[in-house]
């Protein structure tokens, strides 16, 4: 395995600090991996939201994981060069969100209206008979919904 592939494999074990079922790779925020020597790792991350407070924690988690794996020269950089959107979440990542009880984001073509969010299936019973309560939830990446079928409140990972 070349070094870049090794770095990626390590990052697949680094979990989101707020949603511990999804790795940073599956979340789609790892935008560049480079290595110019066996002990050198460069990782570029992109923020999910500009105001996401977990970003600094994520940088630290990446640094720690690479240190534990024996890398000596580690560069972790956050950049807006690639703008994250929820279509970048992998299929595995979408399943991981569901496992955490969060409705995965609706896939979109860059054009989002509130109607799109009203269509979010319930992560508990799969019903589409749900109501969007607010596009703003407990964290910037989540929206609040109510399932009219199983009568549970639930959260969705909101499309962006």
């Amino acid at each position: 395995m070349d070094t870049s592939a090794r770095i990626k494999a390590i990052l697949e074990t680094v979990m989101d600090p707020e949603i511990p079922t999804i790795s940073l790779v599956d979340l789609g925020i790892v935008t560049k991996i480079k290595s110019r020597a066996a002990q050198h790792a460069y990782v570029q991350l992109t923020p999910t939201f500009s105001g996401c407070p977990a970003l600094r924690v994520m940088e630290e988690l990446v640094r720690d994981a690479l240190t534990d794996a024996g890398f000596q020269e580690i560069e972790v950089e956050t950049s807006f060069e690639t703008q994250w959107n929820t279509n970048l979440i992998s299929e595995k990542g979408r399943a991981a969100l569901l496992k955490h009880g969060l409705a995965p984001p609706v896939k979109h073509e860059g054009y989002i209206e509130l109607d799109v969010l009203s269509d979010t299936p319930c992560p508990l019973c799969n019903s589409r008979n749900t109501t969007l309560q607010s596009p703003f939830g407990p964290t910037l990446c989540r929206s609040l919904h109510y399932c009219n079928n199983c009568r549970n409140a639930f959260e969705g990972f909101k499309p962006i």
């Binding site: 923020p47 939201f49 500009s50 105001g51 996401c52 407070p53 950049s79 807006f80 060069e81 703008q83 994250w84 959107n85 989002i112 209206e113 509130l114 309560q133 607010s134 596009p135 703003f136 939830g137 407990p138 910037l140 609040l144 909101k158 962006i160």
Partner: protein, 254 residues
């Protein structure tokens, strides 16, 4: 084209306008935390506050790369006359109608500003505004849904919203106060200029409000000053409160 010193000054002025608006309005929005009329609204204003402060940080970081002080120093150690925000964002939150109308006017302007800047020749700003554009969509959707709902709520809700529209409109026009560098910004492809932005904003805001049944005082004269450091009596107390913890121990680690 080669950037002259005046182009860079114009660019910095533009970045300060945007970042200061976001920081100050972000702070005001956060004042609804714990006080919103319903829980969802409390969360909405708190989330928008978080977005705005996050966006201001990204812009202060670009300014830092252009040679300005680091973001904390810039945000926490200036006095009111050094801020480039428009006056509209510094007013206290007032009643909910006032905050909603300000939110509507401001966020539509920002959405259009970000959209325009996705085509700026200055790449760092192009990258962040492409990001902000996705985030602000939720702010304008939120503003629209409340402006619409309260136009058809009760007699009182409609009257109060209309009063806030009348009161805030001249200040909203103040968002587009021309800078000293309009020519430089436009000729270099850095920005379309405040006049063009204002026109785009009017083209969105006026028909939207009219479709909800409000009237728009389009003949009102703009109230300028904020962009040149002239502020109301409300900004300095806000800064004093915002910087209180920082001033106790500026070297504290977080």
């Amino acid at each position: 084209m080669e950037f002259t010193e005046k182009h860079v000054e114009g660019l910095k002025d533009l970045l300060y306008r945007m970042a200061d608006d976001l920081l100050i309005l972000g702070h005001r929005n956060s004042e609804w935390t714990g006080l919103g009329p319903i829980l969802e609204e409390d969360i909405a204003f708190s989330s928008m506050a978080q977005d705005k402060v996050g966006q201001s940080l990204a812009l202060y970081e670009i300014l830092h790369e252009l040679g300005e002080s680091d973001p904390d120093t810039v945000a926490f150690t200036r006095n009111d006359f050094q801020f480039h925000n428009c006056q509209m964002v510094e007013f206290p939150i007032g009643e909910y109608d006032f905050s909603l109308v300000r939110h509507f006017f401001y966020d539509h302007a920002d959405a259009l500003r970000f959209e325009a800047l996705t085509e700026t020749v200055f790449e760092p700003l192009q990258m962040v505004t492409k990001k902000f554009k996705g985030e602000i969509k939720y702010h304008t959707m939120h503003a629209n849904s409340w402006l619409k709902q309260l136009a058809h709520g009760s007699e009182e809700s409609k009257i109060r919203m209309q009063q806030s529209i009348n009161e805030l409109f001249p200040y909203a026009l103040g968002m587009f106060e021309p800078s000293d560098y309009e020519q430089e910004l436009m000729e270099s492809g850095l920005f379309i200029g405040e006049a063009a932005l204002q026109q785009r904003w009017l083209d969105v805001v006026v028909p939207t409000l009219e479709s909800y049944g409000y009237t728009v005082p389009t003949d009102a004269a703009p109230l300028f000053g904020g962009r040149k450091g002239v502020h109301t009596e409300h900004l300095q107390p806000l800064l004093d409160e915002m910087t209180e913890v920082f001033r106790i121990d500026p070297s504290a680690e977080w």
